[in-house]
Subunit: 84 residues, 2 copies
């Protein structure tokens, strides 16, 4: 019970964390200080977690990483678009 | 077997991802474009994963999140130090 709650909390926080970064980039119209390598490696990681989630059939893992992947793709898109 | 490999790969990638960002900040001596909120929320998430790992007794989770927490603390420290 507690284990599941902590796991849910962890998944929520580590997914939600990318939102303020995406918002900052959107607001400032630049992604200059953000490392493209970080976001590409993180996207690979998140997609691996997605495969892992599908393999073990845990929907919180599947859902959290699907949301993370969307936000990461947005950051990567903007980073490439702004060429900075 | 495959499940464990994918889980290990996912943990490795999502931990290693923070290294290029930390390096970029170190090299450029600024963390201006990086969202402090993101790193504070991510640290809370990683610490929750740490507790989760301890609860389920999975050392890859414990180890990966311990490393992530160290890199995140470095980024947060530099962000606050550079006041930007």
């Amino acid at each position: 019970m507690w284990v599941e709650f902590i796991g849910f909390l962890a998944a929520f926080l580590s997914t939600a964390a990318f939102v303020p970064q995406a918002y900052k980039i959107y607001k400032e119209k630049t992604a200059k200080g953000v490392s493209l390598t970080m976001y590409l490696v993180m996207l690979s990681g998140v997609l691996s977690w997605e495969v892992y989630g599908l393999m073990i059939g845990k929907w919180p893992v599947i859902l959290a990483n699907l949301i993370s992947a969307s936000i990461l793709l947005f950051i990567i898109y903007v980073k490439i678009k702004y060429k900075d």
